[in-house]
């Protein structure tokens, strides 16, 4: 019994990070109506930039390295939008999708160029987990859940209590109408990209703190985040949150039943089935957009 409880706990930890990724991905989808393939690369860049800062020639302590790394990640996110997506935003959706595949490939290979393809870590000594009712959790993992709760709570506050959040939701609902009502589109799109890259970068850093860094980490996590997005219904922020938790739990509990080689297969199969059976998501709040 404790074994399964531990698996569920691991699932919640992984899921809270997937939720961070998924919320960013779904916000971009909600406003711009395209799937940003390069979202995963923001995750990887967030993690690798911290690695860059804590090693020579910078040798910054870890807790000081996070903030500048996240700022640069945000700059990458905003830069993507300004130089690639904005010029294409009024064209064909597929053009945007192919362009974002190009951006993703460019950014991932830049990581491989700078840091190589090998597994890397921050070099922090593993700490013994805290035992609690037969379950084990490390301080890093508590930080992961705490950060996810903090970021998503702040997002909730922003979306429901501020004028900016209101305009953001209005744009997601109907871009043209929102623009007609005098909502500053530039400000909204800037906010979306900043939030999406902030969540991706922070999540990537936390994930790397708990596991390790490799160039494909962006791609694999992006696919999981995408499964979460679909589960919650594309464009639905709270759906993505629940979807992320669900994917995390499903994946970790699934290990008890399938061979570990098929761990990623679970999210893939889930995406495929969801797309075909429930394209509006389990919590089909958002309608009409496929």
């Amino acid at each position: 019994m404790t074994y399964y409880a531990q698996l569920v706990l691991n699932g919640v930890i992984a899921g809270s990070i997937y939720a961070l990724f998924a919320v960013g991905l779904t916000m971009v989808y909600g406003v711009f109506r395209f799937i940003n393939f390069a979202h995963g690369e923001l995750i990887a860049w967030g993690a690798y930039l911290v690695l860059l800062l804590i090693n020579p020639p910078f040798s910054v302590p870890l807790y000081l390295a996070v903030l500048p790394a996240l700022l640069v990640t945000m700059a990458i996110g905003v830069g993507q939008d300004r130089y690639v997506y904005q010029p294409l935003i009024h064209g064909n959706r597929i053009t945007l999708l192919i362009a974002s595949i190009g951006v993703s490939y460019l950014l991932r290979n830049t990581i491989r160029l700078i840091w190589g393809s090998d597994l890397m870590t921050y070099g922090i000594r593993p700490v013994r987990g805290i035992q609690f009712a037969g379950l084990s959790i490390t301080p890093t993992q508590i930080l992961m859940i705490g950060a996810a709760v903090f970021f998503l709570g702040a997002l909730y506050f922003l979306l429901t209590r501020t004028m900016l959040g209101k305009s953001l939701r209005a744009v997601a609902d109907n871009m043209e109408l929102a623009a007609v009502m005098g909502i500053n589109m530039k400000k909204v799109s800037l906010t979306v990209w900043i939030l999406a890259s902030l969540f991706a970068g922070a999540g990537g850093f936390l994930l790397a703190l708990d596991t390790n860094l490799e160039p494909v980490m962006g791609m694999t996590n992006m696919i999981k985040a995408f499964a979460a997005v679909l589960l919650g219904g594309a464009g639905n922020v709270w759906g993505a949150l629940v979807g992320g938790l669900f994917i995390g739990i499903a994946e970790n509990v699934g290990v008890a039943f399938f061979s570990p080689g098929y761990k990623d297969f679970i999210s893939f199969a889930l995406i495929f089935l969801l797309l075909i059976l429930r394209p509006k998501g389990i919590f089909g709040v958002l309608t009409g957009v496929r």
Partner: protein, 294 residues
């Protein structure tokens, strides 16, 4: 000289692969981002049958058939989706197929791959067989490209283009859109299977790492760069990409930096893909030969 033959053969195989993707992406407007799955299914089926002692021509035919069946199995459910969501479904399908190749060791030997795949007996093994294999590839490429051209001007091909431009118009004209799309995907998969078979029997060794997202992006780049919806654009794209890839090997790069070549290549591919989308989305060979000025 042999090296040049090798590059030509690889470029031709990618040319066939690109033509097959172009059938779906260019003519029908189906954004298949998992096309490498059919390349892989063709390659693995043909390789396994060839290794078990079947004549190569027969195993290649069966490989193509297997790819076609897989295409039908994917197309029938996945074509209920449109646009980018179809793209995602196919991408995920390709990853599932790859994970299957990695994990089902009893069949595919997993990450170890399958070595020693035989060539057709009349071609001959090793370097001695290169010229014959090249001729074989040229014949097949010309055949596939001519079929593609015949198809594009046939009522079927024109119906596909109507589907691409506007599904509702096609429906109004009494075309069965779903059936047209399914047939396009099956045809594309069979041809991708052919390219996969050629690849397996030419290289004579395959492993799951030959059929990743990288290959999908490479062939996507061939089609988009060459010109989607044209007959020779994809082949041209394939030649440019493969020759570029091989030319990088001759750059005077110090041995210590050898590991930098592959990432640099990837960066260039990504950058070119972005640049084409921004500056010339129709590719080098335009479908409309500059006549569409509006």
């Amino acid at each position: 000289m042999d090296y040049l033959l090798h590059i030509l053969i690889v470029a031709l195989i990618y040319g066939i692969f690109a033509i097959s993707l172009n059938l779906e992406l260019g003519y029908t407007g189906l954004y298949n981002f998992g096309h490498v799955a059919f390349f892989g299914i063709g390659a693995y089926t043909s390789a396994l049958l060839g290794l078990s002692g079947l004549p190569v021509s027969l195993s290649m035919a069966l490989g193509m058939a297997a790819a076609g069946v897989a295409g039908a199995l994917l197309a029938i459910p996945a074509l209920r989706l449109t646009g980018d969501f179809f793209g995602i479904a196919t991408l995920v399908f390709a990853e599932m197929v790859r994970l299957f190749f990695v994990n089902e060791r009893w069949l595919t030997k997993g990450p170890m791959g399958l070595p020693g795949i035989p060539r057709p007996s009349w071609i001959g093994e090793g370097i001695a067989g290169l010229p014959m294999f090249l001729i074989f590839c040229i014949l097949l490429t010309v055949l596939v490209a001519l079929t593609g051209r015949r198809l594009a001007t046939s009522p079927f091909g024109r119906a596909l283009k109507v589907v691409r431009e506007d599904e509702y118009v096609a429906q109004t004209l009494g075309k069965n859109v779903l059936s047209l799309k399914i047939r396009a995907v099956i045809l594309g998969s069979v041809l991708a299977g052919l390219a996969g078979c050629l690849w397996a029997h030419y290289i004579s060794y395959i492993s799951p790492s030959d059929f990743t997202l990288n290959e999908t992006i490479l062939v996507l780049l061939c089609v988009v760069l060459g010109g989607k919806g044209t007959n020779w654009g994809p082949v041209l794209g394939a030649f440019i990409i493969i020759f570029f890839q091989e030319a990088l090997r001759f750059l005077p790069i110090p041995a210590d930096f050898g590991r930098l070549v592959a990432p640099l290549q990837g960066m260039v591919y990504g950058f070119v893909l972005i640049l084409i989308m921004l500056k010339r989305p129709e590719g080098i060979v335009s479908e409309y030969r500059g006549s569409r000025q509006c």
